[in-house]
């Protein structure tokens, strides 16, 4: 298997200027020097993406995902290390996609096509299907500055996929399109994947990453933290997320974290048969079992759960705040089980358990993230499966 992309020790350092550098001020020495600050947006990335692979990159905001993508697209050069890509590259980097604002959609197709390496003839031949796929016929002769961001992305995606790239780089662009277009894009990307196009995708939509990508790289604060199959990578990412929520809550919402009082020993999801599982059918009864140990004497302990949807939004949180566990002595082992039915649509979910003091202001411990996949009922969409029963009354003829 040959590689489509190779990064060796790649890193990018940006210089942030506090004020714009000016010839006049530097020449006249009005200020000694522009104030600047350097930061490594991403560093030490070794990566090989094979031809035809679908690869994902996930991480929190500002962790360097887009920087990696711009280097793979050749838009910017790495400060250290090397970046090499084989084949025609079509980048869809953030919203905007590289259009000239003053030009019409049609003219921009030519500009973009030329950048992607198509000749005029080739572009003219594909013009119809590009416009058709984007579905913006009525606006094709309007300057793109009058486009909505969704229309921008529609056209950009359409040009990129019609250029028959060997490598498609998709950075977070699809989120802007409406649902119908997103579905169309995923279908098209699947088609390209089957045809052997290498796809690298950055998305905060973990469900999409799981569906589209084989291997996934997790970056955090510019450092590659995990590289592996999508489910494990997503779990590793949740680990990073959960370890950082402590920090957030410390300073943020008025709750404080008090370490050394309770230690979580394990947390797992059990299926209907009581065995640990990672896969659940919609509506199935499941439970989450937490084992923790009290390290000191504690009066009242509240155990709570938060369940997150594939896109990271919390869908459900609950706790035994009304009936807390009482008087745990140092060294007592606490095992508790939260049972519920997985009334959820298809997707990959995560759950986190937390242990708080009875006043609900002091967090004592948090479990590692539990990831699981729900196979939902076909007809269900949204965040919850309320198991609607759709009954029909006997028709009456009037």
């Amino acid at each position: 298997m040959t590689n489509a992309i190779e990064l060796a020790g790649a890193g990018k350092r940006f210089t942030k200027y506090e004020d714009t550098p000016m010839i006049l001020t530097s020449a006249l020495r009005v200020r000694n020097r522009t104030r600047r600050e350097q930061l490594w947006a991403v560093r030490g990335v070794d990566l090989e993406v094979a031809e035809g692979e679908s690869f994902g990159i996930i991480g929190r905001n500002g962790s360097g995902k887009s920087t990696l993508m711009t280097m793979m697209a050749g838009i910017t050069a790495p400060t250290e290390g090397s970046v090499r890509v084989w084949g025609r590259v079509a980048p869809l980097i953030s919203v905007g996609v590289g259009f000239h604002r003053e030009l019409t959609g049609r003219e921009n197709i030519y500009v973009n096509g030329a950048i992607l390496g198509l000749s005029r003839r080739e572009i003219t031949d594909r013009l119809e299907s590009v416009i058709d796929f984007a579905g913006i016929e009525g606006f094709i002769d309007t300057p793109v500055k009058f486009y909505s961001s969704g229309m921008y992305v529609r056209l950009g995606f359409s040009v990129a996929v019609h250029a028959q790239p060997q490598v498609l780089l998709v950075d977070e662009v699809l989120a802007v399109g409406d649902l119908a277009f997103q579905v169309k894009c995923f279908e098209k990307m699947n088609e390209l994947r089957r045809e052997g196009t290498t796809i690298v995708m950055v998305s905060h939509h973990l469900g999409a990453v799981r569906r589209m990508c084989g291997r996934v790289l997790v970056v955090d604060r510019g450092i590659p933290r995990f590289l592996g199959e999508a489910p494990e990578a997503i779990a590793a990412f949740h680990e990073i997320l959960s370890s950082s929520t402590e920090v957030l809550e410390d300073h943020g919402s008025g709750t404080r974290f008090e370490p050394g009082v309770v230690a979580v020993r394990s947390a797992e999801l059990l299926g209907a048969d009581g065995e640990p599982t990672g896969h659940v059918e919609a509506g199935e009864p499941v439970s989450v079992r937490l084992r923790a140990e009290a390290l000191t004497d504690i009066e009242e302990v509240v155990v709570g759960i938060t369940l997150f949807a594939p896109d990271g939004t919390p869908v459900y949180a609950d706790s035994n705040a009304l009936e807390p566990f009482q008087d745990l002595g140092a060294g007592t082992e606490l095992t508790c089980t939260l049972s519920f039915r997985a009334q959820l649509p298809t997707g990959s979910y995560t759950a986190v358990l937390r242990v708080d003091r009875g006043d609900l202001r002091t967090n004592l411990a948090q479990s590692p993230t539990i990831s699981f996949f729900v196979t939902g009922r076909h007809t269900v969409a949204g965040h919850a499966d309320l198991e609607a029963r759709i009954a029909r009354e006997e028709p009456v003829r009037r």
Binding site: I23, M72, T76, S82, V83, V89, G98, E107
Partner: protein
């Protein structure tokens, strides 16, 4: 696949001159599209469309000719109006092109921060977009010559080297300034201020011979002097020896083109970081 060369091969920030030249050649289609587009954007919305491309320099030449001959009583052979127009043709190409070309990279941020192509294409497209207006003014000068009893001799062939030198100088200037402008954002203002002064230290509205003292020195150092001399020798005539001014233009041109090459080779791959 392994046998083929990578399409993107990045190690370090600079691009070798050979590779940059190859990339520019590969981007020729893009260059044509961008120049055509530049041309359209400029004249599409104007009500007389492309006529503006000619009307502006003609109007400017007419006003200047009127003002300077009546107020400052400048005389020049063969007729002052034709003398000014012959100066305006290269000058207005130069000034129009560098005022747009110096900011071309930053002005196309939408494009250059989202995709890669050799950034030099952007200022070069400005050069091509203004060429039409230049050719038309040159044609007008050539048509007016017989009206003022100027015979066009074999010297008219000098129009070719004059135009090539003008293009090369403008290219050197635009490429250098556009690279500097990515980092120093006041280049935009410095260029427009410089152009205003530059007009008066270029023998557009007066013959170089009329100048003396410090002005004389500036005229001699000015790369546009040699180009205007060449241009007028080719058309309206009446210019003295011009070997030295032309050599000075040539030196400036080579210097600017070298600087531009160095700047673009070193920095063009990281322009996007600052956009």
């Amino acid at each position: 696949m392994l046998a083929t060369a990578p399409t993107i091969d990045l190690q370090g920030e600079s691009t070798s001159p050979g590779r940059l030249a190859r990339q520019l050649w590969e981007a020729r289609e893009l260059f044509l599209i961008l120049s055509r587009k530049e041309f359209h954007v400029r004249y599409r919305r104007a009500s007389f469309g492309i006529l503006w491309a000619l009307a502006l320099p003609l109007l400017q030449a007419a006003v200047l000719a009127l003002v300077f001959s009546k107020v400052a009583h400048i005389r020049a052979a063969p007729h002052y109006a034709v003398f000014v127009l012959a100066g305006m043709a290269p000058w207005s190409y130069f000034s129009m092109t560098i005022s747009a070309g110096s900011t071309a990279v930053v002005d196309s941020t939408d494009l250059s921060s989202k995709v890669y192509f050799p950034r030099a294409v952007l200022p070069l497209a400005q050069l091509a977009a203004n060429l039409y207006g230049y050719l038309v003014t040159v044609a007008i000068v050539l048509l007016l010559c017989p009206l003022f009893h100027v015979g066009l001799g074999p010297a008219a062939l000098l129009l070719l080297p004059a135009s090539i030198l003008l293009l090369a100088l403008t290219a050197g200037f635009c490429l250098t300034a556009s690279a500097l402008h990515v980092y120093f954002r006041d280049v935009r203002y410095i260029v427009s201020a410089a152009l205003m002064v530059w007009f008066y230290v270029t023998p557009v509205v007066y013959p170089a011979g009329d100048a003396s003292g410090k002005l004389r020195l500036l005229l001699e150092l000015n790369p546009m002097t040699g180009i205007l001399d060449l241009f007028r020798t080719a058309t309206v005539g009446g210019v003295g020896p011009m070997a030295v001014p032309v050599l000075i233009s040539l030196a400036w041109t080579l210097g600017l083109l070298t600087t531009a090459t160095l700047l673009h080779c070193r920095y063009q791959r990281v322009f996007a970081d600052l956009l």
